[in-house]
Structure formats: structure tokens, C-alpha cells
Symmetry: C2
Subunit: 200 residues, 2 copies
């Protein structure tokens, strides 16, 4: 934590990236709407004018943070493994990578998932998130048509449940603990596709 | 919506239950902390003093609402089907009933799941929720030891993923739509225990 005496001037130790990381943490704890530049300054231990040295506004911090989350997710869909091959393998690849991005950029994806859509920046981000979700939903439909996924659950329900399972990871996963991101992804894929019942 | 002219006096049409239902909706939209008695009065279309006729404080509304959610969940664990029989059947019963309570008391369970724990009332509710979760986790362990659940996923991860899947239902489920609560419960149980892969 920055010391009391540093509050009057900008901290040379901060770059935009570290300001962003602390801001995202504050947004997640207090909610974006309830966070003022004053609260941010307090948490950073710098003056309000020192923040403006790093970013022009609270909205810019939000925009940068959401770009980091969405950019990571959108890049998954452009990888060759997401584009070619059997639909169920593509789906599994995309879900694994989604979990990887979620864990690697945990506070950023948490912020994205908690958006209420009160500002244009939030609404744009929700629009991009919906576009991502739709592309994954299309993969689920493809895998169903291919015959690799069971037919007796509505694909919209499958999509909701899969995203529900994956997105809820932000609520409990602790990076650096005994459960590695790769193992977590294995476990989610195993439960969702093979089920928890012991095979007989 | 109550009419303008009714704002000065208590609405005879409101009983405590309908005040509670609207209050829970406002808490879910604005967050409990951000909701003042003034905002509640505005949403109810009655005066602040008329609210006090129904409940002594905002905290009492929260307490009543959380009791409705937690009471429903806790009652599940006392039913005979939750107490006797094979652990996997008990687990399935408890999860199905949890989904039923969640859907039937959707705004109340949503409020419970979004609690931050800033007040004693919230902390007490979170404590009861944790106790419920621990009992379900114990059922998962029992089913594992019984040999009906797969051994290759840590039971703590299984618990997190199952609750993640079920709790996320509050974020998207629309009561009264084409997906009935019973069908939803079937789909969740099918995905979680048998998996999404088509059987070959």
C-alpha cells in the first residue's frame, strides 16, 4: 500500500497498467457506478489530479478494462482450432480457452460479467459479450447437428447452463491455489460432457 | 402501478407480502445498500410513513426476504427423501428441490445470492447459506464414497461447479416461459450427471 506521505503527488511507481488493475479491483468491490474518482484516488494512494495523469476519466478505465476481457475472449474464436475440425472438438477448445482467459484475466472478466448496462461503454461491452455468446451457441448447435451432443436438451438451455457453469467460476476460483487452471478446465469439460456419474 | 394521488396515504391494497415483493425487486435492481426507504416509497407509490406502517425498517424487509429464501432451502434437507436412501438419490432429490425453490422464490433467492455481507442480517444469512452448502457438499462426498459419483474430480470442485450451474439459473431463467421448472431441473440433472455427449 502506498504510504500517507505519497498522497500529494503522483507515484512514479504507477504505470497505466497498475492503475487499471487497482481500479478494476475497486470497481468489483464497490460496483462501477458507486466508485468515484475520489474513491479510486484513495485506493491508489494518489491525488485525483495524479489519476488524470494516467487516464482522462473513470469511463476510460472501464473501457480499457473491458477491452482486456473482451479482446481475450474474442481472440479465442479466431484461432484455427476454433474454426476448423469437428464441431464438438471446436466447442471443447473454445470452452477450455474461455476458462483460461477467465482465470488469467479474472478481475477483468468479473467486471464484464457484473455489468449492468447503465452507460454507453457498458452497453457496447454487453453487445460484444452477446456476440461472443451467440458464436458459442452456434458451435453448440453445430455439435448437436453433427450428432456428438445429446438431442434431448434444448440447445438454448445447454448454452445457458454451460455459460452459467463457466461464468460462476469467477465467484469462487482462487488463482495460485491447488487447483490449476488446466485442471479446472479438465474438470468442467468432464462434468459437462461426460457427467458426474461413475461409469459402470 | 399505484396512481399519483395515492402517494400521500398508505394504500389499503398493500399488505406486508406485496410490500416485500416490490422491495425485493428494488433491492435486486439497485442493490440493497443503495436502496433508501425513500427509493422504496417511490417504487411503492406510497409515503415513507406508510411503509413504516408495514415494516419497522429496511433491515426488517431484508430479514423477511432472506428468511423466505433460506427457509425454503433449509426445509428441503428435512424431507424424508433427503435423509434416507442411497446418497446419489438423496443428492439428486436435493438438487431438484433446490432448483424448484430457486425458481418459485426467484427474486428472494437472487437477493440471497447477491449479498455482500455488509450488515449483521446479511452475515447471518450468508452463514445459513454456507451451512446449507456444507450439507449438500457432504451428500456429494457420500455419493462419491458410495461409488456412484466419479472419483477423478475433487469433491470441492464438484460442489462449486454444481452450485455454480444451479445458482446461475437466477441470471437468465424467466418464469412462465416455455421452459418449465420441472424440465429445467431434468436438464440440469441430465447435464451434470450424464453429460452432454450423445451416448454411443
Amino acid at each position: 500500500m502506498p504510504s500517507e506521505t505519497a498522497t500529494k503527488r503522483g507515484r512514479p511507481g504507477y504505470d497505466q497498467q497498475s492503475v487499471l488493475l487497482i481500479a478494476v479491483d475497486v470497481f468489483n468491490r464497490h460496483g462501477y457506478d458507486a466508485t468515484s474518482m475520489g474513491i479510486l484516488a484513495e485506493n491508489l494512494g494518489i491525488s485525483k489530479s495524479a489519476i488524470y495523469h494516467h487516464v482522462p476519466s473513470k469511463g476510460d478505465l472501464l473501457k480499457l478494462a473491458l477491452e482486456h476481457a473482451l479482446g481475450g475472449l474474442e481472440a479465442i474464436l479466431e484461432q484455427p482450432e476454433a474454426v476448423t475440425g469437428a464441431a464438438d472438438a471446436r466447442l471443447e477448445f473454445v470452452l477450455r480457452q474461455t476458462i483460461a482467459v477467465l482465470v488469467e484475466r479474472l478481475p477483468f472478466v468479473t467486471l464484464l460479467l457484473r455489468l449492468r448496462g447503465n452507460t454507453d461503454i457498458e452497453r457496447d461491452a454487453l453487445e460484444r459479450r452477446r456476440a461472443f455468446d451467440h458464436k458459442v451457441a452456434a458451435l453448440i448447435s453445430d455439435a448437436r447437428e453433427e450428432g456428438t451432443l445429446r438431442q434431448d436438451i434444448d440447445p438454448r438451455t445447454v448454452t445457458r447452463l454451460l455459460f452459467g457453469t463457466i461464468n460462476s467460476i469467477v465467484e469462487w476460483y482462487k488463482p495460485g491455489g491447488s487447483l490449476s487452471p488446466e485442471r479446472l478446465a479438465d474438470d468442467v469439460i468432464t462434468m459437462a460432457f461426460d457427467g458426474l456419474h461413475a461409469s459402470v
